[in-house]
Each structure stands twice: as structure tokens, then as C-alpha cells.
Symmetry: C2
Subunit: 223 residues, 2 copies
């Protein structure tokens, strides 16, 4: 298929690889498609392949012993989940899970191919280490946010990030509370306050942003 030839070029870190290596990746990987809402990895279910996302997004979240949930990050098209996969392989008992949020298409690269690539190519090593580094610095930022950022700021920020081009966020209060690792009631109250200020309008299962500018000001805490 034409697509199978082309996918590797969509990854900035992979397109610089030597042609022979690209060929190796292509011949030793397969394209997989999974529907929306599939748990592609989770406790007691470690994948044997590294995925490189061609389309769709994967939400990575965690369920606490206390029953609380929080969204850790998302993997977008053009990114890979080498790190999460690596973590899974190393520590079986961790609690994060990856769920497709949309129908997803990905290239699956077996572990031994991955290892060969790391050994053979400096470009690929740089790609992998950059991905790890980005993830770790993002987690640092997330810890900072969870620990120190006020909830109104975090919620405004999340609304902006989740809004589509029509400024609509199609989600429930419950799901927003999982995004921020807080309780539904807290989200409900805060959205009421935003609505009182005329910044948003609510409907069952959706929020429309009426005043994106004010929300952004709050999110960047230049209140």
C-alpha cells in the first residue's frame, strides 16, 4: 500500500534515518487499526510492540488505589509510545492504561527491531531519548500544576486545550474532573462560576466557550 511506504516520513525523528534502516523498519513492522475506546495497554496487558501513531489519539490515565482517576497525557499522531511501552515491560505492576480516544491507526514495531535500531542509528537514539526527555519534563510540569496551580486556572487551561474549532468542548463534568484529578462537584461549581461571568455556556455533555480571551488570560494567570 502507498501508505505503508510513506508513514515513516511523518516522524521527524525517523525521516532522517539511513534508507537501509527505513527499509528494515518498514519490512519488519505492521500497520494496525483499532477502534475508538479500546484499551491498548493497561495493568496485566503489556503490548509486545512499540506503536507509532499515524492517526488518532491515545489517552494515558491512571487509576489510584483510592479509586480516583487522572489523565496523565495524550499520545498524538506523529508520536510514539516507546516510553510507556518500555515502562510496561520493565514494571508490570504499574497502574497506567492507554485508551484510544478516536479510531486509531499505528505502525507496530516489535521490540527486537526497536533494539536493533537503537544499536545501529544515532538518529534513532536521539529520537528515542528526546521522547523520553520530553515525557519526563512534561511530568515535572504536571506535578507542579497538580501541586500548586489553582483549580480555576487549570480548568480554564484544560477547556481551551480540549475545545474544537467551534469552541465547543464535548465532554461531561465527570470526564473533566478526571482530566484534572479532582471531583465532579468541584468542576460543576467552577463551571457555574465561569458561566456566571459569561465566559461559557453549558449544555448536557458540552461546554461552549463564549469568551476565549478571558479564559486564556486566567489560564496564563495574568488575571
Amino acid at each position: 500500500m502507498a501508505e505503508a511506504e510513506a508513514w515513516i516520513e511523518r516522524f521527524p525523528g525517523l525521516s532522517r534515518l539511513e534508507p537501509a534502516l527505513k527499509q528494515q523498519i518498514l519490512s519488519r513492522s505492521t500497520i494496525v487499526e483499532v477502534p475508538s475506546g479500546t484499551t491498548i495497554f493497561g495493568p496485566g496487558n503489556s503490548p509486545e510492540n512499540m506503536l507509532f501513531l499515524l492517526n488518532g489519539t491515545v489517552r494515558v490515565q491512571q487509576v489510584s488505589e483510592t479509586g480516583h482517576e487522572i489523565v496523565l497525557y495524550r499520545i498524538q499522531a506523529g508520536q510514539s509510545c516507546v516510553l510507556t511501552t518500555a515502562c510496561l515491560l520493565a514494571y508490570e505492576d504499574y497502574s497506567a492504561e492507554g485508551i484510544t480516544e478516536t479510531p486509531m491507526r499505528a505502525a507496530a514495531v516489535p521490540r527486537d527491531v526497536f533494539d536493533d535500531l537503537v544499536a545501529q542509528s544515532k538518529s534513532f537514539r536521539d529520537f528515542v531519548f528526546a521522547a523520553f526527555s520530553k515525557r519526563i519534563t512534561d511530568l515535572f510540569l504536571m506535578i507542579d500544576e497538580v501541586a500548586f496551580q489553582k483549580l480555576d486556572v487549570r480548568l480554564a487551561d484544560k477547556l481551551i486545550k480540549l475545545a474544537n474549532k467551534d469552541n465547543i468542548v464535548a465532554t461531561t463534568h465527570q470526564k473533566l474532573s478526571v482530566e484534572l484529578g479532582t471531583a465532579r462537584e468541584v468542576i460543576s461549581r467552577q463551571l457555574q462560576e465561569f458561566q456566571r461571568r459569561g465566559w461559557i455556556e453549558q449544555a448536557r455533555g458540552s461546554v461552549s466557550l463564549l469568551n476565549r480571551v478571558e479564559l486564556e488570560k486566567l489560564a496564563h494567570h495574568n488575571t
Copy 2:
């Protein structure tokens, strides 16, 4: 020096390396010593070497835009800070810093040696990826804790982890608050409550654990 020959054997991931590689590491690395309280890396100060700790501990913490601080993790003897270093190199604008908590001795491995090792040795790759994976899963756990764990539980846990063999924690309320990313007043109140229960005794700049069993029960929330 005898020590220079031996250090590599103290790292489980390195002792399995091929003798030629070990020799390469030894000849291309240097032993450094820094006193307690030194900032070995931080904003605008990325180290050019990977450190493998032989002695002492390094505290990695973060200062938020809001001025709040939180301890992210510690690097102990027998561990390396490849990951933090890698992050530094990749993202200059991150805000974490590493400070020696005790006098420290470490082996400094230049970046190009590191890259050669990753290319040449599967054992070394496994060592590096295991370190990254451990760090990421630990950060997942930390996010969970910060977001969902009650403060008394977290404080009890931290006291146990920081206590020396005499069950003494030599630290101030202020420093404990940075450990947990909270405020000093909150620590003071919580310690008062522990004291009221007879679990601890306080002195200026130190806390003695009188009833470690109860603290552990609380920390594992089998209250």
C-alpha cells in the same frame, strides 16, 4: 587508585558489561567530588557529563513559577542521573535542579562515551532504559500521591523514609513542606496532631519517631 578500578562493579547494570567496554568507561571517565549543598545542575546550568553516584545523595527539586518548591526525587549511591541530564540537554528551559545533600563522589562519563556505550552494548541499553522506566513510573506514582493522598498519610510516609537508624528526622518544618509540596503551617499542624497522639516528639530542627508502627500503619493507610 584502587577505587577507580572498582566503581563500575557497584552498578548492577554495568557490572555485566563486556570487559573491553568497562575498560573504555574507566579510561574515559573521571572521578569528581563535590561538597554538600552544591547545585550540580539547574536552570541555565546543564552538566556536560552523566554522573554515576558512588557516595552521597542528590536531591532533585523544582521551583514553580508561583514560588512554591517540591522535591521530585533523590538519586542515591549506585544510581545515575542519565535521565535528568538527558532532559537538561534536550530542554534547557526546564526548572528542576539537583543539589547534593551530602558530600558526594561520582564518576563523570562524557556524553559521547555514553552514546558509544548505548550503541555497542545491549546490557548498557537495558540499564539505561530501566533507569528511564523506573523514573517515569515513579513520577506516575508521585502524581497519584500529590493529587489524591491525604496529607497525614504522606507526611507519615515521608517521616519514615527520612528517619535515620535512631528514628530521628533532622529537618525543619519548612523543609518537610518542600518535600511534600505543601505549606509550613500545614506541616506544623499535622506534626502537632502526631505529637498529641504520642507518635512523635519535636525539637527545634528535628522530629523523633516514638511510635514507628502507628506511623507506618497510617502511611499504608491501614488506619
